[in-house]
Symmetry: D2
Subunit: 133 residues, 4 copies
């Protein structure tokens, strides 16, 4: 699956260098990832769910800056679904120029009563709906 969404830089996302703070790119990609799940008829964090999806890794290459009120497109696609993890690729572009490229991996976990998490298999129903391109 793949998903793309257009958004606009909000003031609180910028920093004193006058551009979007680099950590906010990870939120942009995560927002698009969760929209992709909704597009597949799923929620990544339903109320009272017994499983969760913590990040295993996340990386981003920054090619260009984004400024206040600039419009941009966030694209995300699933690169791989393994037994216990899902790996995504994402890009941000604005007015035909590459802004950022990212890749990140989430792991399926069961939440134990004491609050800790234990690695678990990606549920079949979820893997089927998110099937990579």
């Amino acid at each position: 699956m793949a998903f793309q969404q257009r958004r606009r830089v909000q003031f609180s996302e910028t920093d004193a260098a006058g551009i979007v703070h680099f950590a906010n790119y990870f939120r942009y990609f995560e927002d698009a990832e969760h929209a992709l799940w909704r597009e597949a008829g799923l929620s990544i964090h339903p109320a009272q769910s017994a499983i969760g999806w913590p990040r295993v890794s996340a990386s981003c290459d920054y090619h260009r800056a984004l400024r206040f009120e600039q419009e941009f497109d966030v694209s995300v696609q699933i690169r791989e679904i393994s037994r216990r993890t899902i790996t995504y690729e994402g890009t941000i572009a604005s007015h035909g120029e590459h802004v950022a490229t990212a890749t990140w991996k989430i792991a399926c976990v069961t939440k134990l009563p004491d609050g800790t998490m234990k690695s678990a298999d990606v549920p079949h129903e979820i893997a089927k709906r998110l099937k990579p391109l």
Copy 2:
């Protein structure tokens, strides 16, 4: 009770106007509030707690801007503990100048199994420890 902590403006807290984004002042005050609870031997959000403390209201007057790496002091004190709420007052100062003044109120709630919240009395043990000046 009252509590004061010194901190320094971090880069991610600034915005494109070159100053701390106004919404971050509410985090500064909340961080000091939670430190006050720790000082009183309490945690405002212990693991698996049956009660919670959502905000009822929050307001802040901004007198001066804060810039990257500027040091400042956040002071918070409890103004009133009513049967079901706690009201705080806070100030931020830097190098002898008033930066901001705030007041906010939290309510004690019980968390119901379906995730909703129901107003509850402030536990006696907590009221005793947080007793206003």
Copy 3:
């Protein structure tokens, strides 16, 4: 002028209580405020602008919690434009229920070469375009 926008709670906006962190409501209102300016053909922070609009005060009353993926509407309107300030009122509603009510004031300032700010009159052209209802 008035403006309304629909949005959806993003995961990074929630906190460990399972609801939107209270400080993020101020971002929701600010985003809608800036969209109102764009609707009026203006930008509140154009590149290399000689003036700025820091917050003078901001307050919010919280009536209900917002949860991950919940949809809600943010409404903002201009209540008053004085010689040097603009005062807004805003509300957040979701599925027919009141979620929050806010009011905040911004001041027009001139940016001095040393980075400090000096109170200034609201430019006539801006006041005309933003004229309160």
Copy 4:
């Protein structure tokens, strides 16, 4: 150079999964990076500076979750200073356990009058003070 700082998880840094939101780790590392510059007698973003240091890339591996009020140590060191970039490595640990490992690279740029940025050499004085271990 290397630098380590102890901090505590703040409530606004957590998300609805009950743990620190993954994007906030990048802020933790950046805060420690800037503290390292101060330790070296430098500021990464002095007022009216003609140069800036945007991110070229950032990546983080997440080994364990952090929870509200948990104490942890952020360590950062400079791995390499090339002609135009600086590369860092960082780790987060808590109570003797690995929490996260990160690496990121910043580039030196000159700010042009129109707001765009142009790659520039790392000033000699800065390279000397930040000299990697």
